[in-house]
Amino acid sequence: MAGVEAGTDFEGRLEEMRREAYLKGRVDSTGARPAGSPMPVASPHEGYYRQPLLKEPQWTPLVPLYFFVGGASGSLGVIGSLADVFSGEKELAQKARLMSFVGVAISSTLLILDLGRPSRFLNMLRVFKPQSPMSVGSWVLAGFGASSAVANAADFIEAEWGEGTLAAQLRNLGRVGCVVFGMPFHNYTGVLIGASVIPVWNRRIRSLPREFGMSGLQSAVGLLELTGETDSNALNLLGLVSAAFEAWEGAELLRNHDPSLLPAKRGPSGILVQLAGALSGPVPIALRIASLFTREKKTLRRIAAVCGVAGSILMRYGWVRAGSVSARDWRIPLEIEPSASAATRLEERQTSRLERARQ
């Protein structure tokens, strides 16, 4: 819209209007703004004074932390349930089970503390709504917490009174529960934020659950390694798999040139997301591969673990922050693009309405 802004070529715009009137017999577009007037206008190009249409997410910083702890805890639950079944890794499995229980306790606390009315947290369990990922998540959290508690109770009974049918039965029950609930628990938060009106989230609805889930697995592996499990080849392979996946997701994000994804690429939120991508993708891959060929195996794996865990935390903070930035962008929900195609579409709509009105 050349010549519309104050202080620009006022006479030139008048010339344009005269030419348009001469050629078409009428002037459809708006005239020139009074020169010197700093008044902002509301228009199909500026929206309502560029006021954001959507509301920013109002979660406290505890929520991204909850996303991280939940992702790690769910994955630890799955590792703890399967490691000793598929291999003899009894100690590793028991440690994973215990850590997953601590994780689920922390994550419930974080979730409750974030509520505006923490005393009403049980209201989450008065209904079950499959169409609400928040409701599904609350039930999954409750189910996973119970399963994890049962599995750990079995470990406790065995430690106190020795092996028996009760402990074995309880452990199997907990094992099944931890896998069944751990699967959604480690990645549902991706669906939670993806199924929202925030453009940078809902445009990534397909990749957020995968990204958050694999990131959860990587942080589970990292937390186990940091507590001494640096000998397990299975964990190293899992670390590699999840890091490779994260690297692929990161590359895929960079290849996508949708302008509504800019908050995940530029600015403070973009830096967070990209840094998280590097820390959970290429960096641990390099470190884990290098650890196979050097004597400093344990050190390298510990560094990879720290990177993976840090990347996993930063990723949740980055995406939640990108959501706030995205909500402030009035252009996307109003479908105002700085491109020519949007202006053409608008003009077409206006013309067709005028024609309908004339009939």
Binding site: V41, G116, F121, S196
Partner: protein, 270 residues
Amino acid sequence: MRPTITQAAGERTAFLTDSTLCIGCKACEVACKEWNGIEADGLDLTGFSYDNTKALGHSTWRHVKFVEGLPEPGIGGNDPGMVSWEFSSDVCKHCEVARCLEACPTGALVRTEFGGVFLQPDICNGCAYCVVACPFGVVQKNEQDGRAFKCTFCTDRQKAGMEPACAKACPTQSIKFGLLDELKQEADERMQVLRDRGMHDATLYDPVETSVKGIHSMFILRGEPETYNLPPNPEVPTIYLKDGWKSAAFEAVAMVAAVATSFLLWRRSS
């Protein structure tokens, strides 16, 4: 005298807000605050137009927008040298498919017998998920109080056979309240009248073609809805759920398979 609305059980009501009649007096904002006992928004000058309320929020359930546009000679009899000035009173849209209601994990948000969406403040626990669910940016959490708030559709007044406070207070009948079907017809008639008078930029905002499937607060605007901060194609985020859960299920199965395979590969032969 306004016609009294006689409602049969289960009949659905609506607002029709006609910005061609609005004079920007903000009586609806004040009446809403008074009836519902909402706190003041505070004095915060925006610097654009005379609108210092900006948007709907937890303490603003009616918001009069002051749409100042470029001078448009010949439109509405404006002085060619003056900016064009429109007003429009915004409100919760009470969508037919309301994502805030679907997203609420406590069941605090419910559909009333009048077709509106009502937030029960005694159930809400302030999880703030409805805030990112609304395609119109209506619901907001009050950080001091801890709960989310929005327009109640004056369900309490409607139950007593009264019209909502904003519609009652409107001095120009810009805010019309009535039965949804009748108002839709009234809106079409009004649009015809406006067109006959030569107001060719009048538009009816009622996104029935989108996944929102229609709203209980229709608006007659002048020009494009974007100017009034109304999304031309609002979409309920429910449409993303299927893709999201599919992807989550795929990843979860892959994760369990990866864990099982890795530990099988390095089975400890003890």
